[in-house]
């Protein structure tokens, strides 16, 4: 990739990451944000992770089509259970990789 283009991307990402961290420190030091905004922000991480994950598990091709039998999705079910039980990030990543690798050997 062209390094100048890449730097442009990084500065864009950096700016939209830095400003939300900075502005409340400078201006919101004694005020509380509105309740609905707090509630909404609370739900955003779960919503984003889900929006990232499910299309990656369930769709394939260009244009995308639905496929419930993708190994990515089948492996995700036990991996989800493992994550739920253990709450271990490192463990989940290792188990996920191992299962996916095994499924690749079998199929």
């Amino acid at each position: 990739m062209d390094i100048r283009k890449y730097l442009l991307l990084l500065f864009g990402m950096g700016l939209v990451t830095y400003l939300p961290r900075l502005l409340p420190l400078l201006f919101l030091s004694r005020k509380n944000p509105p309740r609905w905004f707090v509630d909404w922000l609370e739900l955003i991480p779960a919503a984003i992770l889900s929006a990232l994950l499910f299309p990656a598990l369930l769709t394939t091709g260009d244009p995308r089509g639905l496929d419930f039998l993708r190994p990515q999705f089948l492996v995700a079910i036990p991996v989800f259970g493992f994550a739920w039980k253990t709450r271990s990030l490192g463990g989940t990543v290792v188990v996920g990789m191992l299962l996916y690798w095994l499924v690749g050997k079998v199929l």
């Binding site: 990084l10 990402m13 950096g14 939209v16 830095y18 499910f54 598990l57 639905l66 990543v93 996920g96």
Partner: protein, 245 residues
């Protein structure tokens, strides 16, 4: 300023070395936690075609773990810059809330230092600093250490992963599944109640549907904004009905 005032102020402020040590003793678990995740990001970024220098630059300029993972996966699937930046914005918007919560403890400090402090506000440093501010005589020097020691660890770890990644073949040991598994676990961490579960299910369905209908990656932002909005509305309806009955 009177002589006595000066003395009490000096007494209140711990020496720099002590603040650094206090900050490190509170922040080392974050550093330890960042190591494997940073290395994993570096390896994946290397597989997506980024050099260790480019990975390091990203960690310096952006410094936000989950959005860096997302950016790398979007880059490797050929996404355009605007959706990547929009998604980064959405993913990191939550830090606004964290900075708002920390602001009241930092109201009296030098505003210039806040520019440096803001750079290191992450989920982890927020959690540690808020706890310390609430329970102990925590100050800006200690809080800065908690913000920036993990930052240095992160930069080094992601670059190390980038160098090491060259020696790991592309599909070895299911490494292409590492990212998905990490997202699964992070999602599980965020499902702390019914409203989170409902929002996540809604967002998943919406995202899958939209991803088949509209080209590009816009579905990520649209699905999350809408489903979190519906989540808030549903939460309010249920609360209101609960208080009426």
């Amino acid at each position: 300023m009177k002589e006595t005032d000066k003395r009490t102020q000096i007494k209140k402020q711990a020496p720099a070395g002590e603040s650094l040590l206090a900050g490190l003793s509170a922040g080392w678990p974050i550093c330890l936690g960042y190591l494997p995740i940073g290395i994993a990001l570096g390896v994946l970024a290397q597989k997506a075609g980024l050099s260790p220098i480019e990975i390091g630059l990203m960690s310096v300029i952006v410094f936000a773990g989950s959005s860096q993972f997302i950016a790398v996966s979007m880059l490797s699937s050929g996404a355009a810059f605007v959706p990547i930046i929009l998604t980064t914005f959405m993913v990191n918007l939550r830090h606004m809330l964290m900075s708002s919560a920390l602001a009241k403890y930092l109201g009296k400090t030098n505003r210039k230092v806040l520019f440096l402090f803001a750079y290191g506000v992450t989920d982890e440093s927020f959690a540690v600093n808020l706890f310390r501010f609430k329970t102990s005589n925590w100050g800006l020097p200690q809080a800065l250490t908690v913000n920036h020691a993990p930052n240095i660890t992160w930069i080094v770890a992601t670059m190390a992963g980038g160098f090491g990644g060259q020696y790991i073949p592309s599909h070895a040991f299911g490494i292409d599944y590492a990212l998905i598994a990490m997202f699964i676990c992070l999602l599980v961490f965020h499902l702390r109640g019914r409203k989170y579960l409902l929002t996540a299910v809604l967002s998943g369905i919406l995202a899958v549907t939209l991803s088949m209908l509209i080209p590009g990656n816009a579905y990520i932002v649209i699905a999350s904004v809408v489903s979190a909005g519906i989540g808030v509305i549903l939460q309010r309806c249920i609360c209101r009905r609960g208080s009426e009955g």
